[in-house]
């Protein structure tokens, strides 16, 4: 076997093995450098996997040479590859961007542990999306969750600890629910391999236990994915985490739980439970609609910029939930592409917020008056992200919205109602984005405020703008993002490519 054949394992292994090394490097700057090198390597590997997956090919890698369903396999199709790219990309961007801000916020002493946790977190998330084993997903979920708690609690504000605690409680409940569901499935089928589960669940005669399992899994994942009203852990976790951590987890972590939700519901339950799409619709459409409205309204009334963006994420997750619930190629394509696009948009926006936080020492919207003039490049990046949330053309958000509306229109009159909901929530996004823009561009700073005259340093601006420009790229050339997403959607729904 050549190294090339080992790529699927490498994408996680690099991260896992570098974690202890990063922990042992006690010299200044070294843990960061090791982590960055590992994450970037993993990103490159993920890109090469995506290049294979875009041809419609699924890579099956047998761990230790044990064939499925006895051994654990890595199962990398278009969906996994797209997610792996998003996760490792977001992790690399956040690390490179955070070189300076993390050095500020995380002490020299805790740095080795912090960056080791960062690597474990990335490894856990990537592991979840590439494994083809339902229990293995749980293992990786725990690796990523435990390390995320460490990352968030490293925030400079003491309230970070309480936020972490709330996240631990909610996160554990979610993960346990998932585990209970998987346990039930194992009970009735005797297998944990997702592909095998998909084939066997349909043969189970007493469907009740399967339904209970589906319920536990879906609710558990909804908690982890911060689907409204199970989102309560998220806003504070985003707000009090170190800025670079927020960039990373906002871009990637909730998306991974949504990925598992898609995987489990479509690959296992869709073909084996009668009327599953009705159940999925009844479960996710109301939650999605509520999320759109509640998230946007909370964002409109929020004063803290980081929390405002967190609430905006709640509403954006509503879009993804709606897309998943439509059980059609267009809907699922929209949902998947929006996971990717929203990751890009929010990542870029939180980077801009981190730049603002560095100079203004606060992220209260009211205190950012005059930022448009003092920090033109930072604010321009923020505006680009905001336009993406609204879904203005030339931003990646437009692409996702296009598919979601297209999918809703296929559903007749009820769909027309959903179109209205989607578009009204876009308009609510205009309000909360514009609220920030107006303060930053058109309001004079208060007389007693410490004047900010300096733009953010280049080491932060350049990564921010790379992310913003990548977003514009994916708004114009959608062959990779929509390409992978539509292959994924068709594969999941069993439609010919």
């Amino acid at each position: 076997m050549t190294l090339y054949d080992q790529l699927p394992a490498l994408v996680v292994a690099v991260l896992l093995f570098t974690a202890p090394i990063a922990y042992m490097l006690r010299m200044h700057g070294f843990p960061w450098a090791a982590a960055t090198a590992a994450v970037v390597t993993s990103f490159i590997v993920a890109c090469s996997l995506a290049a294979t997956a875009i041809g419609g090919e699924t890579i099956i890698y047998e761990m230790g040479g044990w064939p499925a369903p006895y051994g654990i396999v890595l199962h990398i199709d278009a969906l996994s590859a797209l997610m792996a790219m998003l996760i490792t990309g977001a992790s690399s961007a956040a690390l490179i961007f955070g070189a300076k801000s993390l050095a500020d916020e995380v002490g020299e002493e805790t740095a080795p542990a912090f960056f080791a946790a960062w690597l474990l977190c990335t490894a856990g998330l990537v592991g979840m999306v590439i494994t083809g084993d339902a229990f293995n997903i749980f293992v990786f979920m725990e690796i990523s969750s435990l390390s995320t708690y460490v990352l968030i609690s490293a925030g400079p504000d003491r309230r970070a600890l309480i936020s972490t605690y709330r996240y631990i409680v909610m996160g554990t409940v979610g993960a346990t629910f998932y585990l209970i569901g998987v346990g039930f499935l194992y009970m009735v089928t005797g297998t944990l391999n997702t592909a095998d589960l998909g084939a066997r669940v349909g043969q189970v005669e007493d469907i009740r236990l399967v339904l209970v399992a589906a319920g536990f899994v879906s609710v558990g994942l909804a908690v982890k994915a911060a689907v409204f009203p199970l989102h309560s852990w998220m806003p504070n976790a985003y707000t009090f985490a170190p800025n670079a951590v927020t960039v990373f987890i906002a871009a990637a972590s909730t998306k991974v739980s949504l990925y598992v939700l898609i995987r489990v519901d479509y690959a296992i339950f869709q073909n084996s439970i009668a009327n599953h799409e009705v159940q999925l619709t009844l479960f996710l459409v109301p939650l999605g609609v509520m999320a759109l409205f509640a998230g946007s309204l909370l964002a409109i009334y929020e004063k803290n910029l980081k929390r405002l963006l967190a609430y905006s994420s709640v509403s954006q997750i509503g879009y993804i939930a709606l897309g998943i619930a439509m059980t059609s190629v267009a809907g699922l394509t929209g949902a998947i592409v929006h996971m990717f696009n929203h990751g890009l948009i929010k990542g870029g926006m939180f980077m801009a917020v981190a730049c603002l936080a560095l100079r203004y020492r606060t992220v209260n919207v009211a205190n950012l008056a005059g930022a448009g003039k003092a920090m033109p490049w930072t604010m321009a990046a923020f505006v680009m992200g905001g336009l993406g949330l609204i879904g203005v053309p030339l931003t990646p958000g437009f692409i996702s919205k296009w598919y979601l509306v297209l999918a809703a229109l296929e559903k007749g009159w009820l769909g027309a109602l959903l179109v209205a909901v989607i578009l009204i929530s876009s308009l609510l996004a205009v309000i909360y984005v514009w609220k920030v823009i107006e303060v930053a561009y058109f309001r004079e700073p208060r007389a007693n405020a410490v004047p900010v005259t300096e733009e953010a340093p280049m080491v932060m601006l350049i990564p921010t703008w790379i992310v913003v420009l990548t977003g514009i790229w994916f708004a114009l050339d959608t062959s990779v993002s929509v390409g992978l997403a539509s292959i994924a959607a068709k594969t999941l729904l069993g439609v010919a490519l």
Binding site: L387, I390, G391, V392, P393, L394, I399, K401, W402, V405, L406, L409, E410, V419, L423, I424, S426, L427, V430, W434, E438, Y441, F442, A475, L476, D477, T478, S479, V482, S486
Partner: protein
């Protein structure tokens, strides 16, 4: 020609953007900055106009940028309607720039660099709208136009201005995302394409009553056409400096709205298909309602710029009415009226701005006898007003002639009656003011003894007033060109 035609389209779109960059770099030296603006404007106009002979010969230059979504391209294709709008926007940008320089300096406005940058971006967006080969490309530039004009409307930056600018932005962005976007996606899902195709793409794909719903989504979603009740943004935008008002009312923004509506009728629905659908009458009613009601509101205005804003709302509905009559003559009339109205309205706004710069007056009631102090300005204003009313020998007469012709072809008495009523109402709100300006004695002493405004402004408004006459005399080639849009 030196360049290929698709290169020409490319340059028409990018030169204004390069201009914007140049303006940003030259921001510290006002004279160089203004030179950049003027040079760019002239260059763009030359490039855009160089396409006219090709169009007259029946050519349709194209430029493809590649797929954005599977089956949906970013692409440009120049056809007569877009040519007219592109030529109009690029040509008037030159005049508007000359005027802007006079106005902005005469008024000592701040943030002039931002002003010129946004202006250049808006022009690029307008040309993008004009030359789009499909609805998606058009939509993209339509949104860019909205966003790039927001800083222009909010230019003054005080609380009241920002509030008005928010109304402007909110209504335009809201209608486009809330109504125009779903209409477009709906069209795509039934027709499988969004390309502008002679004869339309929807024939046989959609039936009543859905046609009516789609039509309403388009008509109100294209908020820049200011059909009532989506017209509130236009009076709100009056807080902008006058050159911006001229940009909004004559050069780019509202023209982009009625242009898009005409284009959707002709190339998406197809006029023959739409004519056989009873629901197109709804648009006729809405347009007639808007024409009459806006004229009555205009009658009651005392602020000159607000009066002009309501006049624009009525005049835009002329175009929408002409387009929705769906007869060959009226479709040509729709495009002719875009042009005629542009020349007339830009003159009126230039005059209003000149009066403000010279005398700081904004209310009609304070302007008695102002024609004696500013004879050139008020003469130009009168010509513009006559064109609005539709009196020969001004351009407004020509376009009204075509629209009336279309209405008679269709035996559309509602449209005929509305046009007659509107002519009378237009006369009723313009003529008394003009008489008072020339014949009455000044009753409000101005803050300082003033004559005409700075010369670039006077030159610009005299020039546009002459254009109104020129359009009356030389309209035939334009009408011939526009008649091509009806060829399938």
């Amino acid at each position: 020609m030196i360049f290929s035609e698709s290169d020409t389209i490319y340059y028409a779109l990018t030169i204004p953007l390069l201009g914007a960059l140049g303006i940003a770099l030259a921001g510290r030296w006002p004279n160089i900055r203004e030179t950049v603006t003027l040079t760019t404007a002239v260059a763009v106009a030359i490039v855009v106009w160089s396409l006219i002979p090709t169009l007259q010969a029946g050519g349709r230059p194209e430029l493809h940028f590649g797929e954005m979504l599977p089956g949906l391209e970013i692409a440009f294709k120049v056809e007569p309607l877009g040519m007219l709008f592109g030529a109009l926007a690029s040509g008037l940008w030159i005049v508007n720039s000359v005027y802007s320089i006079g106005y902005m300096r005469g008024n000592n406005e701040k943030n002039q660099t931002r002003f010129y940058i946004c202006f250049a971006i808006a022009i690029s967006a307008a040309i993008g709208v004009a030359f789009s080969a499909n609805l998606l490309t058009l939509f993209i530039f339509y949104e860019v136009l909205t966003i790039s004009t927001y800083p222009l409307v909010a230019h003054k930056g005080d609380e009241a201005t920002v509030r008005s600018a928010r109304v402007y932005m909110g209504i335009l962005l809201g209608t486009s995302i809330g109504l125009f976007l779903p209409a477009m996606i709906w069209t795509y899902s039934v027709a499988g394409t969004l390309s502008f195709t002679p004869g339309g793409i929807l024939e046989g794909k959609i039936a009543e009553p859905l046609v009516g719903i789609l039509l309403l989504l388009f008509a109100f979603g294209i908020g820049k056409a200011a059909l009532m009740p989506i017209h509130r943004w236009l009076p709100a935008a009056m807080v902008a400096p006058t050159p911006v008002s001229a940009l909004l009312h004559a050069v780019a923004v509202v023209k982009a709205g009625v242009f898009t509506i005409t284009k959707v009728f002709v190339y998406i629905f197809g006029i023959d298909f739409l004519f056989n659908q009873p629901s197109h009458r709804i648009i006729v009613w809405v347009a007639c309602f808007t024409i009459v009601v806006s004229s009555f509101i205009a009658l009651r205005q005392t602020n000159l710029k607000r009066l002009l804003a309501y006049s624009t709302i009525g005049q835009l509905s002329y175009v929408v009415l002409a387009a929705s009559i769906l007869k060959p003559l009226s479709e040509v009339g729709a495009s002719m009226h875009m042009m005629a109205h542009a020349f007339g309205k830009i003159t009126l706004f230039f005059a209003a701005g000149a009066i403000y710069v010279a005398s700081k007056k904004t209310e009609i009631t304070d302007m008695l006898g102002i024609g004696r102090r500013m004879p050139w300005t008020m003469a130009a204003f009168s010509i513009g007003a006559l064109s609005m009313i539709g009196v020969p020998p001004t351009g407004g007469f020509i376009s009204k002639w075509y629209i009336l012709g279309g209405a008679i072809q269709d035996d559309n008495y509602l449209a005929l009656a509305t046009l007659v009523a509107s002519t009378l109402l237009n006369a009723a709100y313009f003529l008394p003011f003009i008489f008072a300006a020339f014949l009455y004695k000044e009753d409000v002493k101005p803050v300082n003894e003033h004559g005409e405004a700075p010369w670039p402004m006077v030159a610009a408004l005299t020039f546009t007033a002459l254009l109104t006459f020129a359009f009356f005399i030389f309209h035939q080639p334009i009408a011939d060109l526009e008649a091509q849009i009806l060829v399938k």
